[in-house]
């Protein structure tokens, strides 16, 4: 298959219950999810999900609790088998793997961070971080060395011999993160990895994750129910509702053009001035150079104060060349709530 995508899901449907195939047939005939759930007692966890994650991308899947996020991410390393659909990781068909191949795949290709940490309470921090390497069969000396390095990277020096229950939630999540990173694999799956953390620690971890992703060039599939988090870290955001993908795009595409009322609700609480980047709303092209200018990565919040003095503000490339301009009116229009008519 194509290697274009690091992770690709095609038409994945997951139905929980004793007779998933019967329910699937009815679902395909166009019956609604609610109707089927009420009638058959089955739960439709995922409904015809397509997902494409490019190499090096930090792809966020977002949705309310119960929307199927955990179900989705567990399909990628096949902790859950789908009722229908195809899943490719690095071009390999995950569903065609034998149990042995699957174990090798999990040991060498992909690592996971869990919302509830999933640490082994009977192992010390360092043995927890080394767990994946131990399973992979790395000898004791080198796996402990690697584990030590990662413990230092996540800022937990001195806790090597502690037990998980002696650490705070934030520290435990760092252990979980270090355990996944110690595997040194290309692909990280993170299921609400930061949801259990205090806001301050959480923000710090988000920054660290962004740095890690830039320096190590990982492909990350990140689950969250928090839209602000999705906007902050996501290169690409997929919104899940009732097990179905309702929108997928760059963060600001979603802020600017929410696909339906549900997404709009998410967007309503967002600080739009921070979420919307100027280059997405500017007037592109060569214009007379403006007196004031902002870099291309700036968001609306950065440019607003400049309008006190200037009518036009330029948007400049890193080398200083002006690539567009914008007026206060354009910014206000972007910040104002979009009605679906727009």
């Amino acid at each position: 298959m194509t290697h274009e995508y690091k992770i690709e899901m095609r038409g994945v449907t997951k139905i929980f219950g004793p007779q998933p195939d019967d329910v699937l047939a009815q679902l395909k005939q166009g019956r609604s999810k609610d109707e089927l759930q009420a009638e058959t007692g089955h739960v439709i966890g995922l409904n015809n999900v397509d997902l494409k994650v490019e190499p090096g991308q930090l792809h966020v899947v977002m949705g309310l609790s119960g929307s199927g996020k955990s179900t989705l991410i567990r399909h990628v390393n096949r902790l859950i088998d789908p009722t229908a659909g195809e899943i490719f990781v690095d071009g390999e068909n995950v569903l065609a793997m034998s149990l042995d191949e699957l174990r090798t795949f999990r040991r060498t290709k992909i690592a996971m961070v869990f919302q509830k940490f999933g640490l082994m309470p009977h192992r010390s921090v360092i043995d927890n971080v080394a767990y994946g390497l131990e399973i992979r069969g790395v000898d004791k000396k080198s796996r402990l060395k690697t584990a030590e390095e990662w413990i230092a990277t996540v800022g937990l020096e001195g806790y090597e011999q502690s037990r998980p229950h002696q650490l705070s939630g934030g520290q435990q999540q760092r252990v979980g993160l270090a355990r996944a990173l110690a595997m040194d694999v290309d692909i990280l799956l993170m299921d609400e990895a930061f949801s259990a953390l205090d806001p301050l620690i959480r923000s710090g971890m988000q920054d660290e994750l962004l740095v890690l992703q830039k320096t190590l060039n990982k492909t990350i599939l990140f689950i969250t129910h928090d839209f602000d988090e999705a906007l902050k870290i996501g290169d690409q955001v997929t919104v899940l509702q009732d097990g179905a993908v309702i929108q997928s795009g760059r963060p600001e595409d979603i802020v600017l053009n929410p696909a339906n009322a549900h997404v709009e609700e998410f967007v309503a609480d967002v600080n739009r001035a921070r979420a919307i980047h100027v280059h997405t709303i500017m007037e592109k092209g060569e214009f007379e150079r403006c007196e004031a200018g902002v870099p291309i990565g700036a968001c609306c919040e950065d440019v607003l104060p400049l309008f006190a003095e200037h009518d036009w503000v330029g948007v400049n490339e890193e080398d200083g060349a002006q690539v567009g301009r914008l007026t206060a009116k354009q910014v206000i229009k972007a910040l104002a709530r979009h009605s679906s008519a727009v």
Partner: protein, 289 residues
């Protein structure tokens, strides 16, 4: 009078004769099968009798200190055991200890694997649970009669009866302990590519260990509770003294031997419990049980 619908006499005759047939034809086979446990019991007994009394007391006191990190339990161990020695009950205590230890060890060998299998298969659990219920509720005399018929009076039927009575809680608690292991920890192990045996030995058993140890504790207690009955069919030990006390109406003999059983019970109960607690604290489940 309850009316007689069917004549059940043939059934009873058939049962009794069946057992006789089994005793005649398979008795030797059964005896050979149970022989290793007899060897173990005798070896343990000989060993404990060969070791000087003070060494046993010291070893148990050290074990008690290791488990509790305090001096209370070791003191209880020393005072209790010295008291039993002074009451001329040392040899009987050692015999009872040997029976209890052999029964517990045998129970561990069979119960833990069975508990693990139960935890993994609903079908096995459905079949085994009623058998365990039966083992725990059936009055021990009911199975004592056939076992004595098969093996003759002596240590083997005593040991078997003790095991039948004492093993069920260990099976149940092993099953419970394994099933209680948090789903998210197991899932993490699976996500990192752990094989079923890596999950069993690396995650499930270590995390179930405090519960399994609670089962071992109950098994030792129930084995001790069985010693009087076991002595009736030739196990000797403290239970035999109690029995003689009753038979000869020598209250003192019965009381002191009975106290001896209590002392043993306290010692082994506290030691195994304290180790279980230590383990739980290590894992961070303090206050669990």
């Amino acid at each position: 009078m309850f009316p007689e619908f069917v004549n059940t006499r043939p059934l009873r005759v058939w049962m009794d004769e069946g057992l006789n047939w089994v005793v005649r034809n398979w008795g030797d086979g059964f005896e050979a099968a149970a022989y290793p446990s007899l060897v173990m019991l005798n070896k343990i007994e000989d060993l404990l009798l060969a070791v000087p009394w003070w060494l046993i007391i010291l070893a148990l006191a050290a074990l008690a200190y290791g488990a509790t990190r305090r001096f209370t339990l070791p003191a209880v161990v020393i005072i209790g055991l010295v008291f039993m020695g002074m009451m001329e009950l040392w040899e009987d205590s050692v015999k009872t200890m040997a029976l209890m230890i052999s029964a517990t060890v045998t129970a561990i060998i069979f119960s833990i694997p069975l508990g693990i299998v139960m935890a993994r298969s609903t079908l096995v659990r459905k079949i085994v649970t009623p058998i365990l219920d039966l083992m725990q509720t059936l009055p021990s005399f009911v199975y004592l009669i056939p076992t004595v018929m098969i093996f003759g009076p002596g240590k083997i039927p005593a040991l078997l009866a003790t095991i039948i009575y004492a093993a069920p809680p260990l099976v149940r608690l092993t099953d419970l302990g394994i099933r209680q292991v948090a789903e998210n920890v197991l899932e993490a192990a699976q996500a990192f590519g752990a094989s079923p045996s890596q999950r069993l030995f690396g995650v499930q058993i270590p995390l179930a260990l405090p519960t399994i140890l609670a089962g071992v504790n109950q098994t030792t207690m129930m084995a001790l509770a069985m010693v009087v009955i076991a002595s009736m069919i030739g196990a000797g030990g403290l239970g035999y003294q109690v029995l003689q006390g009753i038979g000869r109406l020598e209250v003192s003999r019965g009381v002191f031997a009975g106290l001896g059983i209590v002392v043993l019970a306290i010692i082994f109960d506290r030691i195994t419990q304290a180790y279980g607690k230590q383990l739980q604290e290590q894992i961070g489940l303090a206050g669990g049980r």
